[in-house]
């Protein structure tokens, strides 16, 4: 029951997230640091809600805010933002 993946990108299970919460994580960032949930390619777009639901059992949901959002919010190819290659 607890083995299903909550964060698919980083393959983090419900059990691992519960352990992080038991370890003292009270924020999405705290869970992320302990488990990598939300660190993957989709940057938490899928798992953030699920982790929030789990955190809401110990925290006021109004206080569960997303981790700091920094560019890029979409995966961008490094070659697209780098200077052109010298020919």
């Amino acid at each position: 029951m607890n083995e299903e993946y909550i964060c698919r990108c980083e393959e983090v299970t419900r059990k691992e997230i519960q352990e992080a919460i038991d370890d003292g994580a009270t924020t999405l960032a705290g869970v992320k640091r302990r488990t990598r949930a939300g660190m993957g390619l989709c940057q938490g777009r899928t798992c953030q809600r699920l982790v929030t639901q789990m955190l809401a059992k110990v925290e006021d949901p109004a206080e569960i805010k997303p981790p700091t959002s920094r560019p890029p919010v979409r995966a961008i190819k490094i070659g697209e933002i780098a200077e052109e290659e010298d020919e």
């Binding site: 980083e10 370890d23 003292g24 994580a25 009270t26 924020t27 960032a29 705290g30 640091r33 302990r34 990598r36 660190m39 993957g40 390619l41 940057q43 700091t68 920094r70 560019p71 890029p72 995966a75 961008i76 190819k77 490094i78 070659g79 933002i81 780098a82 200077e83 290659e85």
Partner: protein, 397 residues
Amino acid sequence: MKKNADAVVAGGGVIGTSIAYYLSKKGMEIILLEKDDLASGSSGACDIDIILQSKNPGIHLQLAMESAKMYKTLADELDFDIEYKATGGMILIENEDQLKVMKDFVRRQKEIGLEVKLLSLKEASKIQPGLSPHLVGATYSLLDAHVNPMRLCFAFSRAAKRLGAKVYLGTSVLDIRAENSKVKSVITNRGEIKTNIIINAAGVYAPFIGEMVGLSLPIKPRRGQIIVTESVPKLVMADVLCAKYIAAKYNPNILKESDNPETRLGVGLSLSQTRDGQILIGSTREFVGYNKNTTHEALHAIVNNAVRLVPALRNIHAIRSFAGLRPYTPDGLPLLGPVENVQGFIMAAGHEGDGIALSPVTGKIISDLITEGKTFMDVSELSPSRFGPLLGNENAV
């Protein structure tokens, strides 16, 4: 909350948790206070490198070498996977001027006993494919390694807790009470803790803790921005820096006036790949106070610097960026040890970008100093009083 402790550690980063662990190991009753969460500051917003060759020959390199030794057995000792890996590390050299500097750097490092060598581009490319053909060579040391800094914090914290330490998260130090210039208690948002010793391991926030006992600490935040890529198959074989990084690190003044954004932002390459396959590309070195935003200018500067040196990065996707604040000191060395005038107030902050590398040795030194009054090597050079009297603050006790 517990109301008294042999010592209170302020700060739940790699330095504070390490100190809490080593002190607990010596049988002391420790309380660690963290205003937010473990690794929520600089320790959770940095690269993963434990690089010896970037350290200036002297006490800095000696500390790093001692720490590197400790790292080898640390995961076993803490019984926690800290994702430590001895990958080796290289510093890329782009031109003859840099080569000259690095030759001298390597010579002096060797004198201290560091195993490091100079490689031709061809030799370097065998170890790390994908290097730009314009490079003239690289230095290389097998001793360089990396670790997951966040897991390191959790590992120290858990091990400390097993030894009886109390770790209070979401708990801020509001004030420090002293009588006759001796620490008596620490006031937190959750109550008062009686103790004779407080260790200031608050990193960039250490000056605020210092102020509580009237100290004016010469630590200021220096922002480092880092870009994270998607997970990709092993691409970064060794932890990679560039010689410009060494220049940016030790000669901040030469960077200030430049028109080139890369130079102005103090960009030096730091490249490493985590166990999960994400590549961290760093970094800037900027003085912008406590501002942790990332900037568009830096994104470009970091990326341009990185693809110039390692063109293979072009086809990989960046998925986020972050900025961390490094606790800068004027001489690039941490403040370790007691301060004059306030008995029981111990400094352990100011590691700038070397906190991860120096975390174990810092914990060992501080615990030695507190329990035995001395440590295995002479660290008087790192005494906070090397900057002269730190008083001059109205909160002086």
